[in-house]
Amino acid sequence: MATKNIVIIGNSAAGVSAVEGIRTKDRESKITIISDEQFLAYCRCLISNYLAGTIAEKDLVFRDKNFYSENKVELLLEKKAERVDTKKKRVYLEDKTVIPYDALLIATGASPKMPKDLKGINKRGVFGFRTIKDTKEILTIASISHTSCVLGGGLVGLKAAYGLHKRKQDVKVIVKSNRILSQIADKQASELFFARFEENGIEIMLNTDVSEIIGNGDLKAVKLDNGKVIGCSLVIVGKGVSPNTKLVLESDIKVDKGILVDDYQRTNINDVYAAGDVAETFDVTTEKYENNALWPCAVEQGRLAGSNIVGENVQYAGSLGMNSIEFFGLPLISMGIFDGEGETMSYLDKGKGIYKKIVIRQGRLIGAVFVGSIAKSGLYLRLIKEKADISKIKDDLLDENLNYAKIAELVKEEEKIYI
């Protein structure tokens, strides 16, 4: 097989998994990874643990130097890819270096959405929360700060709040909407978590927005839309992320919210692939193209893109929203569509802190939420992904005894182990 010159932009879940996908088949092709960060591949989802002090910086690394040497990868750190020319097949870096490619994988991830119109957003002490660098700067200020504000009640905002709380900060979470975790939990589940945060001394202000960030250069306070002013020296913005598509906007690569890819992670341009948080893939539950910016999706997509770059023809089963998180000992797993349309079945035991909900549409499971009791949630994910007809076991679906044997006939058996 002819060797290729493969260039990967991005050194996180998708980029690294792509290397693994490539090297299962092809040991020879040249691989170059370009990353604008200064660190080896690290567990981005764990920066809140790093913030909290429960994990050391060195333990965030999930692929060390050996990975790059063993896989013969040339790693270019602290280099920002600025532009892609798909006709000349070249990547242009900010430092004017030009890198030619035969095959290109764009795995540039996403960046925190910062409310550009908010007065004072550029003051020192206001951060997004995405990288080790962000976390280090936050930690420096946290060591001299007493009060911190978090804007946004989503996963990232609350993880930041949790981490800051562990660092003995007085944390106020300011949430524009009427509930927290609205992207990953239904109303009932978010109420359970709201109570858990309040019990643990993190104040959450719902239906409240920040109207101004006050200070001369350095942040001193935030002003809320109800006129109240909170003195603080640290603000973390957790208002979602947007895909890092800037480097392709002048090219002819098709971009919607993220870079659009087909079931093989190919963009509309030959030899250009995209994977991970920057990509928009077909979602099996919404049946639309979605930007499911999730670690497991990034790993799967990256691996697949890598395999397909070296001539395998592996089709992606599609992405779907799924999240697992635990705050103050209360775990949450949610997946698919769990709000709105469809027939709903649920079980709530407030005393035990257990809540389960499933959503069914036309005899098929499309979503689920589990709080407090999360064992076997993978079975539900499987039923959703495989669009299995669950009418036969509908009444058992919320039973804690649901198990693989019960659903075995409804799903595809990959590897036989029973006789």
């Binding site: 764990l46 497991p296 797993i333 693989y404 029973y418």
Partner: protein
């Protein structure tokens, strides 16, 4: 690359495998000491009954291993040469992503220890403890080819009634 296989026609759901497994996961590795341990050891295998048959359910060390892809902490990896999913406790943060994606529901959350309960084929010994514990010989530790051969023979021997 031996894996666990189960003859469900023999399994009585006596749960001897569960007991042996839990003891194996205890600190003392002895039943009467294990029951007094502060954090009760838990079995990785879970025997469930459905349609009149009993199914021991445990991690299969799948060739596709969604738990490894989903692990946000790099605590799970796949050893191609051994055909096993390997777990590194030092890296695990108890995020339960593996629980969320296991297609067999074979990984549970140990809430006290904040670690996944998952069959490691008794990595500390030569052979999974459940095999000797099973009084019916329903649990087998075989190469994939051996099992395939067994499946094929079973089909041939099935005489029409």
């Amino acid at each position: 690359m031996k894996k666990l296989y189960y003859d469900v026609s023999k399994c009585l759901a006596c749960k001897s495998c569960e007991l042996a497994c839990a003891v194996g996961k205890s600190v003392a590795k002895e039943l009467f000491k294990a029951i007094n341990e502060e954090v009760k050891p838990q079995s990785c295998v879970d025997v469930k009954t459905t349609g009149g048959k009993n199914f021991p359910i445990a991690c299969r060390h799948c060739k596709e291993h969604p738990c490894v892809s989903a692990c946000i902490a790099g605590a799970l990896s796949y050893d191609e040469s051994k055909g096993r999913v390997i777990y590194n406790k030092d890296k695990c943060v108890g995020c339960w992503m593996c629980v969320m994606v296991c297609p067999y529901g074979a990984i549970r959350d140990n809430k006290e220890l904040k670690i996944p309960i998952r069959c490691d084929l008794c990595a500390d010994t030569d052979e999974p403890r459940c095999i000797k514990a099973c009084p019916m010989g329903a649990i087998m530790f075989l190469e994939e080819e051996e099992f395939d051969k067994m499946l094929a023979e079973k089909k041939v021997n099935k005489k029409p009634v």
